[in-house]
């Protein structure tokens, strides 16, 4: 409670903490619902994952860090063993969505856009922060959904939330775990070691060369791993920080564009199976590389554009 009374803590931080609590509660609900669900093939594993995750989201600020670290390791065990499963969810039928669309029509876009609009308005017009805006947008969307369609009771929304969380599954936490891995790389001094190796190859102090290596490195590294999120933590700690950011360049521009340079790598690799290989199967294409073939030129133009853009506006 001291945290919420503390005058030193900004209002935005306090509201965000409440949003985390509510989000954590819905996550914990997902775990408990599946624990009690006899149709779930792995009740305990599923519950362990979601209840621990929800508890860290809700109360992470107050848990001792060693305990949180241990909980994260425990939480990942059922995920790695593929013991986090979906239970009995209320599938939506095409008849139901069509009937609902016939009732409310294009007005369904109002709650859909509310979230992004909320984030933007709060980021630009208040000092509460974009994420409080996302939370407000979600609340507005929920209220609009209930007004537009009386059958959207709070219980329906809660169970749809559980269905979505179960659908995205534990792999949705990958970017979070990669962020943690980045922190561990930094703490273990990985950045300095890479900087030393790369420093022997490329001249230190030439920022433009640094930008080119960082950008192309992001693209190739992502192409090898099939995941830009995995590449950016390693590349930023090892190349971006010592060879580009250390020379006073704009961390907003360089750090953010590195990610979309990585996306250029995603566009050209069969390793990004979800984006480039699964559609081949879904649309019955004859050749395995038809999707990549139709993205290759776009990816090359975009990596070039981004390098030039970073060099000019660094």
């Amino acid at each position: 409670m001291a945290f919420f009374m503390d005058a030193e803590v900004t209002l935005g931080t306090k509201i965000l903490e409440i949003i985390f609590m509510l989000t954590g509660f819905v996550t914990i609900y997902t775990g408990i619902k599946n624990l009690l669900d006899e149709k779930n093939p792995s009740r305990v594993g599923t519950a362990v994952f979601w209840v621990i995750l929800g508890s860290i989201i809700s109360f992470g600020r107050w848990l001792p860090t060693t305990v949180t670290g241990l909980l994260i390791i425990i939480m990942c065990i059922p995920a790695v063993l593929k013991k986090v499963k979906m239970g009995n969810v209320q599938k939506i039928t095409a008849e139901e969505t069509q009937a609902n669309f016939d009732k409310i029509g294009m007005k369904v876009f109002l709650p859909a856009f509310a979230i992004g609009v909320g984030a933007l308005l709060f980021a630009l017009l208040t000092d509460l922060g974009a994420l409080v805006g996302v939370g407000a947008g979600v609340l507005a969307a929920a209220i609009l959904l209930m007004i537009l369609l009386p059958s959207n009771k709070p219980k329906v929304i809660l169970n749809d939330a559980e269905r979505m969380i179960s659908t995205v599954g534990p792999l949705s936490m990958l970017s979070m775990l990669l962020a943690c891995l980045g922190a561990i790389f930094t703490a273990a001094g990985v950045g300095e070691v890479i900087a030393k190796i790369v420093g022997g190859i490329i001249p230190k102090g030439n920022v433009n060369v640094g930008i080119i290596i960082y950008a192309i490195g992001m693209m190739l590294f992502t192409a090898i791993m099939g995941n830009a999120f995995a590449a950016i933590t390693v590349m930023t700690v090892g190349i971006g920080a010592p060879f580009v950011l250390a020379y006073g360049t704009d961390p907003v521009l360089i750090g953010m564009l590195a990610l979309t340079c990585g996306y250029c790598g995603t566009l050209i690799t069969p390793m990004a199976a979800n984006f480039n290989m699964v559609p081949v199967a879904l649309l019955d294409m004859k050749k395995r590389f038809t999707v990549i073939r139709n993205q290759f030129v776009i990816a090359l133009i975009m990596i070039t554009f981004q390098i030039v853009y970073m060099i000019i506006f660094k």
Binding site: T23, V26, I56, I57, R61, L63, G69, L70, I73, C76, I92, T97, D102, K103, I104, G105, V108, G116, L120, L124, A130, L131, V138, A141, V156, D160, L171, S172, L174, M176, L177, L178, C180, L181, G182, I184, F185, T186, A187, A188, V190, I224, M225, A228, T233, V234, T236, V252, L253, G255, T266, L267, M271, L282, L283, D284, M285, N294, I298, M302
Partner: protein, 227 residues
């Protein structure tokens, strides 16, 4: 031998490249890096715990999921289908481009409505092949193959380069968290602003590419023989 700390990077590259379980790969890389770097078990758990809590912003996607399911239930996909259905008398290249624009705008607001499985397959492909058949009476197999490729490409390009405009998206949050760990504090809204020119150029490049490519394919497969 300080190079031993790089073993975590080797684990990440091998784990992802060999398609091992992603979560296992990342946790294994974290453990070996911490131990090789002399952080010990307590150092590992402390860093893991504190960075997870510091990066809790990334879990805002779960907050958004709270309403995503009910949006779907309330007919979001049907509304998107009605919207793209307004594109009439267009070539396949134009239909694919229209989809790229729509996907892009919605991605910037963190809205998705089916992807390749849920939208391209049941809607964009039938619209595109119908457009070709209306004009030429038949569709060349190789042309159809490339339209499928372009439609999947439109899904990816629109999604990738515009999801970064959503203030509060996972990508920007990961960048923010990574930079914070290195001592650089940046605002989410500034990260989104930096991507505006990139997003617009990507969309324009993609549209020009699809339309030019489709025109060339039509010339190659239907018109060359008639002259």
């Amino acid at each position: 031998m300080e190079y031993i700390t790089l073993i975590g990077i080797v684990v990440v590259i091998l784990g992802f490249a060999l398609k091992l379980d992603n979560i296992l790969t990342v946790i294994a890389a974290a453990i070996v890096t911490a131990l090789a770097g002399g952080m010990g078990v307590k150092g590992l758990l402390d860093t893991l715990g504190s960075s997870f809590v510091a990066n809790r912003n990334i879990t805002i996607f779960i907050t958004v999921l709270i309403v995503t399911g009910t949006l779907e239930r309330s007919g979001l996909k049907e509304a998107a289908a009605a919207l793209i259905g307004k594109v009439k008398n267009a070539s396949a290249g134009v239909i694919v481009s229209a989809y790229a624009i729509m996907r892009a705008v919605f991605a910037a607001f963190n809205i998705s409505f089916g992807g390749v499985a849920g939208f391209v397959r049941p809607l964009i492909m039938p619209m595109s092949t119908a457009a070709v058949k209306n004009k030429y009476g038949e569709i060349n197999e190789e042309h159809e193959e490339q339209i499928k490729g372009m439609a999947s490409s439109a899904e990816n390009v629109g999604n990738f380069f515009f999801q970064v405009l959503f203030v509060g998206g996972s990508g920007a949050l990961l960048v923010q968290g990574t930079l914070a760990g290195l001592g650089y504090e940046v605002e989410l809204v500034d990260l989104a602003k930096a991507e505006i020119p990139v997003a617009i150029v990507a969309l324009v490049v993609a549209i020009v590419y699809y339309i030019v490519r489709d025109k060339r394919l039509m010339k190659k497969y239907y018109e060359s023989g008639n002259k």
